[in-house]
Symmetry: C2
Subunit: 429 residues, 2 copies
């Protein structure tokens, strides 16, 4: 069983609420409890209230079991809670218990249920679920689990399960990593259309494992919240569209995102590697840069997001076009612009799936905006990210305005086939 | 002209997208650019895509000019950015300029426009608007401005404009205020259905005044994001519904929220007082409290939110009902429960309009969840809040699980009558 593919997502986006082909067109989508109401509403427009529409949105549910984990090729939801954990368990059995409990609870949470099949009704029962997402619906929640390289360091006897060449990211030019936002034995990416649902999920997973794992770092993300008529591609906090050339083609997923036999680990076949980079933007400085210079740096226009060789956002950049009367190296799109440096045309066809979110932590210690991009990318090998980032770190003109302050790389196992299975089960056979 | 009243909001919630009475039923609502599309979509269900629905939501626009500022009796939007500022201006004229620029920009922002009528197209122009909300629509954005007591301290010659009895909140039992999250000469409450739109608005207002004001503290809030079929009242991070008995009746707004002649300041007639309290929840401790005890503390059931003397959320609490066989002081709803202490029946009819949001700042220095409630209330006099909070600080059983860490009180001037007017204009006549 495959989970929602990008094609299905694109289809569902157009037809999910259309009143025709609600089920047939929805691909991997499963309607939740309010699904019936959604269909009824779509066929009886006079009864479509905003409350109904919110209920439809709340009922959006992605399948938990499947070939791949959800939250990778799933159309990005509006909100993110990303959390990395250190495992404090002393034994492999204790780790095994965490992974088994989490797998079962992730299935409950993504279906819109509280954790724990039965909530205590007794007066003296301690709440199993903390309750703040009660009756809110699944809200398109996906929970994606990853294992950091340190999980395989020998504490739990897992050395032989470490994928080939899986290691912490090498030091990169221009980064200034804060140890408090770097690494982790485990990570969870929670994405949902409601921030409270995403927060509730991570909070409850952390809570049920609190004697065995310790939260190391968390980033809350927003900025996928609008895909209105003129807003298919969201904007980062520099004001530029971000994600225009992202992976969409299923062939690219097979080639560039899903791990195959090469990892040497059956549990990673159908999995992926997640790179997380907390990127602080020097926003006040950026805001004083002239628009022309900002556009040169990105290689795109600010308002439309078109490559500087085109007029529309999705025009294909021409990296060879030269300025009028210019020589061959006087290209319209600067060779050290962000779009030129990252384009697959200039990187032996390498692509990565970006799935980042904007974040803000308020103000820093000297009163500047503490904000930026929680960059998340999925790729078949960490080497894809490393090669691209090495180039960016060396040449990208954006470096003047950004600083990588947090980092992690995680092996994201394949999806679970069915209830009763759990992530990492192979480790404990 | 009155802005959207609660009644109109309630009406609009039911009829806004209903295909009939879209304009007539919407009260103070104004449809933005995509409004026509919304009507068309409602009458032609086969064309209603999720993108269309998001566009309708994005186009929600509240009038900026009116008797009262928007963002008070406006139905709470999904997201909050609350920011308090210190004025660093050295002269009254400089402050006047900030207030005039802000008033004009607030009008632009709430209509979904960037700040500054014309964005520079020249290559060397510095961006007037930072751009990250371009084409996202107004998203129901409201911007509500308040003046702190310190603004009237004499630096700007405004002593005589200080409302009667307007002063910093007195010290309260059980609070543990952090000076970095307390006070401010000015505040802005930005609420919108998209967090990026709210963030963009505050960011750009702060930016255009950066030589005259300094951001003092900021809280980002969520938790009004879902009002699904079963979720009319949102839940706080303790898992309980919050806001069940909130003010809705227009008569209550007149009596309890809008300032009259008593303030002794014409600029406050039609205004209100905003109390902001950043309330940290001791969540890990709360989560270990048995459900029965949690319910006793609130005086309500956790799942339904019903008073302990009733079965449905909106049942009126009976504060005199006693437990079976109990004496008169053995009430079903404990007299020191949160609902009993705050009920208007037990406070000489005092009500306050609550408009808070959940927040989370990630983890505190020892790895616990740093999260809670950004309590915002509007009232005709700060004394309403002070009297209630004095009672709560003394007796509320919730005090074991919460800590007030930030605080501010602000005089929120009346709405502006029309373009060309600006907040505080009376101060500089």
């Amino acid at each position: 069983m495959t989970q929602s593919t990008p094609a299905a997502d694109k289809l569902s986006r157009r037809t999910f609420f259309s009143g025709s082909a609600v089920v047939a067109g929805a691909g991997g989508l499963v309607l939740g409890a309010a699904g019936g109401a959604a269909v009824a509403a779509a066929t009886a427009p006079e009864s479509v209230s905003e409350a109904d529409r919110l209920a439809e949105r709340a009922s959006l549910k992605y399948p938990f079991y499947g070939e791949h984990q959800a939250g990778i090729d799933t159309r990005p939801q509006d909100h993110l809670v990303f959390t990395a954990f250190d495992v404090t368990a002393l034994t492999a059995v204790e780790l095994q218990l965490v992974l088994a409990k989490w797998s079962a609870a992730m299935s409950e949470l993504t279906s819109g249920s509280p954790v724990g099949k039965v909530q205590p009704e007794r007066e003296q029962g301690i709440p199993v679920d903390t309750g703040e997402a009660t009756d809110m619906g699944p809200q398109g929640l996906t929970l994606t689990l990853g294992f950091g390289p340190s999980l395989f360091d020998g504490r739990f006897g897992l050395e032989k399960f470490k994928p080939a060449d899986f290691a912490d990211l090498p030091a990169m030019a221009g980064e200034s990593l804060d140890p408090d936002f770097t690494g982790g034995d485990l990570c969870l990416q929670a994405c949902a259309n409601d921030p409270q649902v995403a927060y509730h999920a991570v909070r409850n997973l952390a809570r049920m494992a609190r004697t065995s794992v310790r939260t190391k770092w968390t980033v809350l993300g927003f900025g996928r919240a609008s895909a209105g008529a003129h807003q298919a591609t969201p904007r980062n906090l520099m004001g530029f569209k971000d994600g225009t050339r992202n992976i969409q083609d299923p062939a690219d997923f097979s080639d560039q995102v899903w791990v195959g036999e090469e990892a040497g680990q059956p549990w990673m076949v159908g999995g992926s590697y997640l790179v997380a980079r907390k990127i602080h933007m020097l926003i006040e400085t950026w805001d004083e840069d002239p628009i022309g210079d900002q556009q040169t740096i990105f290689g795109r226009s600010k308002k439309e997001g078109a490559p500087l060789t085109g007029t529309k956002e999705h025009d294909v950049p021409d990296f060879h076009a030269t300025v009028a009367g210019g020589t061959a190296d006087q290209t319209v799109i600067a060779t050290n612009s962000h779009v030129a440096l990252t384009a697959h045309e200039n990187n032996n066809g390498t692509k990565i799936l970006r799935r980042g979110y904007n974040f803000t932590d308020g103000l820093d210690s000297v009163g500047r905006l503490d904000a930026g991009l929680m960059f998340l990318s999925f790729q078949r090998s960490p080497e894809q990210f490393i090669a691209l980032q090495r180039k960016l770190g060396k040449s990208d003109r954006l470096n003047e305005y950004i600083r990588h302050v947090g980092s992690g790389v995680f092996a994201v196992p394949a999806g679970l086939p069915a209830a009763g299975s759990y992530y990492g089960k192979e480790f404990f056979a």
